[in-house]
Amino acid sequence: MTKRLARRQKAFPASRQPRKAEEETPHGRSAPAALAPAPGNLARAPLAARDLLRLQRQAGNRAVSRLVSVRSGAARSRSPHGESNTRQAPAPPQSAAQSDPILYMAPAALVAPASSERTTVAPSGVHARRAVAAGARTVTPGAAAGSAIQRAAEDFGLRTKTSTSAFVSEAVAFWKEAGNKDKPLKDYATFLMDKVNTMLPTTCPSTFVTSGGDSGSFSRVTWSITINTTKFSTNTATDKVGELTADEAAEVADTIYHEARHSEQYFSFAQIMAGEGKDATAIAAAINIPATVAAAAVKVPIKADKKNKAMIAAVKDWGEIGAGVHATYKGLVNGLLDDPEALHRELLGVNAARLAATVAKTGTTIATWKSGPLAGFKAELVRLNQIKKKSKGDKLVTSHTKKIIKLLDAIISTWEGDKTRSAATLRALGKKVVKLDKAVYAAYRDHLHEKDAWATGGAAGKQFRAAAKKKKK
């Protein structure tokens, strides 16, 4: 979640440095009436996993979600500083409804508000736009799964093109509106939170803070999105909406949409648990969500049927790694993201002058890995081997766990068998640590709930950037 945009450019090796994105401040221009839902992507050379991880650490998840979806293409945008950039030409404008065949196929089937939080159920095939316009809370997982037209199991709620386009069009309009240029950044964030809250199955408050490394972060424990507006821009003087560049404004929209998607993921998971017969107390305790949210989910359970089988499987996989049986594994992977990189840099850069220090650091790090992560992953593997019928998520977790254990074992064995501790043997060890680093990063990229949130927020950011370039007709 960390957004350290100032260092984003440095995250790339020179040979793969992305072209500097051209940015345009909004004022003096107004929002277009209709926005294209499928803009182009920045043209960038392929990124290695290592580059992506570094970028993610330095620039945040939102930046990565945008980059991992990079394909190709080129079009122009304009910078307030007169710089130019090459981007892909946007796709021809298409309405959100046209892009979403379910909207044409499905009847509206809203159930009356079921709780004080205005949660309503759309058992299948809901017209999302109409529901939002009516101020209703729609629980849309069943909508996607129950449609006559098949689409991805995770394509519901905020991830639908309809929701994304609706959110983005209002976000861009707010950012471009001349009357908003002198408003504080919190007004932009609040506007986005209000918009996304009209789309969520249960509401989520914002908590503004003035310190902390993240621009935005959802907590299922407090069911809130913490927002730090000082992280919205690389320019520390930026404190007004009109001072945000297009890229920065898009990044904020991406972040809030991504974080809101996490709340939707957990709520859907709670609904499925409710559909399986668990009560609110059990759900709250199992996935560490507030009792109020669990109670809201129990009022709108999702029960398995033939139509929603794939959706339920996807949501369960998100829930299990987010807060369920694979949460410990998630913590092990996340906790091991940094150390291997630091160690292989040390090992591969070793020379005579640094030999003693490198040996000491390596010994300390490997001892920590042996007693901590390795033991943890081995315990996880024992647990995983007991799962008889593995889901997609179970299989991914098992595969990554085995790979990481194998690499950790190899590193420890090599280290403990190395009696010379020379620069050459340390460099050889460094190559094994590089493999571990890549394996851990690959495991992180396969956290299925994050993958879904990256895709959801990334689509919003991408649309924002495309729409921000359009001039008033």
């Binding site: 914002s206 503004f208 490394g213 907590s219 424990v221 009792a291 109020t292 998630k330």
Partner: protein, 133 residues
């Protein structure tokens, strides 16, 4: 710290507690946001208080206490019993220990959430979340 936490837990157990109900015991308002309010604490052991309300509501969602000095987890465990650990979603975010403080005779239980230091031994932030029955 135990005394402060007990006082706050008692204050959060009635139904529909609002910011105004809590403020006299917490401190002075520094800044108000749409859903949360930063408070300069009266208690010298706390450097900052952040009260978040439910979305567009007066009712308190949770109260964050940023501690001046980290508090040993063992101390909380001895006061509030066993806890569960919540693993965060994103790298770099700290684990949280959750104590469920049951208040059967009150309208709400309270979850005490300790945000842990990297070693997992001390709490740096304590969050109190009322959980209505």
């Amino acid at each position: 710290m135990r005394d402060l936490l007990r006082t706050l837990i008692a204050a959060l157990t009635p139904q529909g507690v609002t910011l105004d109900d809590l403020l006299p015991g917490l401190g002075a308002v520094i800044e108000r946001y749409p859903d949360n309010t930063l408070v300069r604490p009266l208690d010298p052991r706390v450097s900052e208080i952040n009260v978040t309300r439910r979305y567009r509501s007066d009712q308190v969602s949770h109260v964050d206490l940023v501690l001046l000095e980290p508090l040993p987890l063992a101390e909380l465990e001895s006061a509030f019993g066993p806890y569960t650990v919540a693993v965060p979603d994103h790298p770099g975010q700290p684990n949280q220990a959750i104590f469920f403080v049951r208040q059967p005779s009150q309208p709400s239980d309270v979850a005490l959430i300790a945000t842990l230091d990297p070693a997992g031994a001390k709490a740096t932030v304590l969050t109190l979340r009322p959980d209505p029955h």
